[in-house]
């Protein structure tokens, strides 16, 4: 452990490769105190905010739940129906319970990657451990909420997700703040281990505030015949968010897919990308991103595919919709091929709302603004996430509200 700590200490001043460099000393380390309680007894405004990021207090609809506010874990439970199928607990608890977890800790994300990973080691505030047990097909989504209730707080979580061989599950993680919170820094480390023949769909929804900063750092290792689908959605303004999660398709026929829907408004600075590294025969990767920028928002939409083995294939599709002349979208698709047997492709397109499309819809009786909001809504079509119908409908409803607000 001391070597990890040493590495973190050495990196604590190291700026990240991308995104504005933050002075981490400006954030508070004094959280509010929250005692463990049932979700239903949480304040209404907390529950409403949680629901906006897909986390419901109606636990009947979730296989398992983890809820952290500031630095305290206030709730974690597996629904009776899913006992012995999944495990959910705080990362600290898990490290005490399982010695082997050390082999999963800081193994995909480097602790000395930058000052934020270092911070997550040196000032670690919980996070969750989720494990889907071998051959278990969990029919209901699991949920985790990382909530900030104190203004200007720094919250650093470290999550580990293990999908054991042959398992299948859906996880929703919502990161959000209390309506009274304006500023703060959330650092989230997440390491995914998708074992042979397992399938994990991970959906993360962020709702921050105009002066809030966020630095997620995630990585996944995907073994033989396993599939990892990562969905990310952010609709509210943020001061800055920068992340570039990576999936290593290590196993034969391993598959990774990143879907991203980002709506940048106000003065948001958003630098979001996804990387897939193809490392074995039959590995497949796909990155789909949709970025909408309005007001003065700046969005960098990155994508990186690297082929290191023959018989591999990956595609990157990045689309941007610019709704304001003061906004900016910067699409950066990158392909690196290190094997002649790898096929990598990308398409990137940025434009405004197409007049032709608007007029076509008007010719079907929609007003101009109805047509525009239908097109924007369609642009952010959550169908790309491949979620279960009920969840898809809920998320689509959130998107619809945003689409209505835009125009």
């Amino acid at each position: 452990m001391s070597t990890i700590k040493d590495a973190a200490l050495r990196a604590i001043k190291k700026p990240a490769e991308l995104g504005p460099d933050l002075d981490i000393s400006q954030y508070s380390r004094n959280p509010k105190n929250w005692e463990p309680c049932l979700l239903s007894s949480l304040p209404k405004d907390v529950l409403e905010r949680a629901l906006e990021v897909g986390v419901t207090s109606n636990e009947e609809n979730r296989a398992a739940t983890f809820f952290q506010i500031d630095h305290s874990v206030i709730f974690r439970a597996v629904q009776d129906l899913f006992e012995n199928k999944v495990e959910i607990m705080s990362a600290k608890e898990a490290l005490e319970k399982y010695d082997w977890l050390r082999d999963y800790w800081w193994k995909i994300v480097r602790v000395d990657a930058d000052k934020y990973t270092a911070l997550a080691e040196l000032a670690w505030d919980q996070g969750y451990f989720i494990r889907i047990l071998e051959d278990q097909h969990v029919t209901m989504p699991l949920q985790a909420c990382l909530f900030i209730s104190t203004d200007n707080l720094n919250q650093n979580v470290h999550n580990i997700i293990v999908a054991e061989p042959g398992s299948e599950a859906q996880i929703i993680t919502g990161c959000t703040i209390h309506p009274g919170v304006q500023r703060g820094l959330h650092v989230g480390i997440t390491e995914f281990y998708i074992k042979e023949n397992a399938k994990l769909t991970f959906t993360m929804i962020h709702n921050w505030a105009q002066n809030f900063d966020s630095r997620p750092r995630s990585g996944a290792i995907i073994e033989d015949n396993a599939t990892f689908i990562s969905n990310y959605m952010s609709l509210k303004p943020v001061k800055s968010v920068q992340m570039y999660p990576v999936a290593y398709c290590k196993g034969v026929n391993s598959r990774a897919r990143f879907n991203t829907i980002v709506y940048g408004s106000g003065n948001s600075y958003i630098d979001i990308g996804s990387k897939i590294v193809l490392q074995n025969e039959g590995s497949r990767g796909e990155i789909i991103s949709r970025a909408i920028a309005t007001d003065k928002a700046q969005i960098c939409a990155r994508g990186f595919l690297q082929g290191e083995h023959g018989g591999t294939r990956a595609h990157l599709e990045c689309r941007g919709l610019l709704l304001s002349d003061e906004a900016m979208i910067y699409a950066v698709p990158e392909l690196v091929s290190k094997s002649s047997g790898t096929e990598l492709s990308h398409e990137a397109a940025i434009g405004k709302i197409s007049e032709e499309q608007v007029q076509y819809l008007m010719a079907r009786g929609f007003s101009k603004s109805e047509a525009e909001s239908l097109i924007v809504r369609g642009f952010m079509d959550v169908g790309i996430f491949g979620l279960p119908k009920d969840l898809e409908m809920k998320i689509q409803k959130m998107l619809d509200i945003t689409a209505e607000r835009i125009l």
Partner: protein, 254 residues
């Protein structure tokens, strides 16, 4: 010409008066006059680039098709300056030739807006032999030529407008689907008025049209019975119409 004049006296669903239209400063329609009486089906012939589709865009009010002079009346109402969707609400429905694909906007979303009557949509799908799965598809995205025609006709008929404009419903469609589309269009035209653009007049095997017009260089060159005009075009091509137009213009100058 005399015949057109006579029809002016009837109650027209569509009446275009001395319409001139520009696109990006270029004149594409010149002093077009066209009357379609209530309950009649008219056909519009013309070589490529003569302005047929432009005329439709102008009737619908697409902003790029700038009306520099003239007026358009629909059921006696001046619609020259109405937004597209207001014209549609009055009952004008167009099946486009090359509609744009829109990601994330499903055919079903549009149909739901056009009519609350799900039964009617199901019935139309059956008649068109159009699989219901298409309702969940992004509109026009990856649709084949025939699928686009069916989707367009489906949308037009879902709305129940009194006036239908079909832009080349018979081009790019195989024989089997043409028969299906022809049958559906024939049924739909009962009690409705329509303007149909066609190149080779194939659709006329299914539809009884009252009148045909030939558009040449942005101007209506002649109007007569569809059979007569189609016969001339098939025998002699549009050169005949051009000559006709020239001689008429010369007469006018005299």
């Amino acid at each position: 010409m005399w015949r057109t004049r006579r029809l002016r006296l009837a109650r027209n669903i569509l009446e275009i008066e001395n319409l001139s239209v520009e696109v990006s400063g270029k004149r594409i329609l010149n002093d077009v006059n066209l009357q379609i009486p209530n309950g009649e089906v008219h056909v519009l012939f013309g070589p490529n680039g003569s302005g047929k589709s432009s005329l439709i865009m102008a009737i619908l009010g697409f902003p790029a098709f700038k009306i520099v002079s003239g007026r358009i009346f629909f059921n006696g109402v001046d619609i020259t300056n109405l937004p597209i969707n207001e014209r549609v609400k009055l009952g004008i429905n167009v099946a486009f030739q090359n509609p744009p694909a829109i990601r994330g906007v499903r055919l079903g979303d549009i149909l739901n807006h056009l009519t609350p009557d799900k039964e009617k949509i199901n019935e139309l799908l059956m008649k068109l032999k159009f699989p219901p799965e298409f309702l969940e598809r992004d509109i026009n995205l990856g649709f084949s030529g025939g699928e686009i025609k069916k989707s367009e006709v489906l949308q037009v008929l879902a709305h129940n407008g009194s006036f239908i404009i079909l832009d080349e419903p018979d081009s790019g469609v195989d024989v089997v689907n043409l028969r299906i589309l022809g049958g559906v269009i024939k049924d739909a035209l009962k009690g409705r008025s329509a303007l149909i653009i066609t190149h080779l007049g194939v659709i006329l095997q299914y539809v009884n049209a009252h009148m045909a017009h030939v558009l040449i260089n942005g101007t209506i060159a002649c109007s007569d019975s569809p059979a007569k005009i189609l016969g001339q075009i098939l025998n002699e091509g549009y050169a005949w119409c051009e000559k006709c137009l020239q001689s008429r213009m010369q007469r006018c100058e005299l």
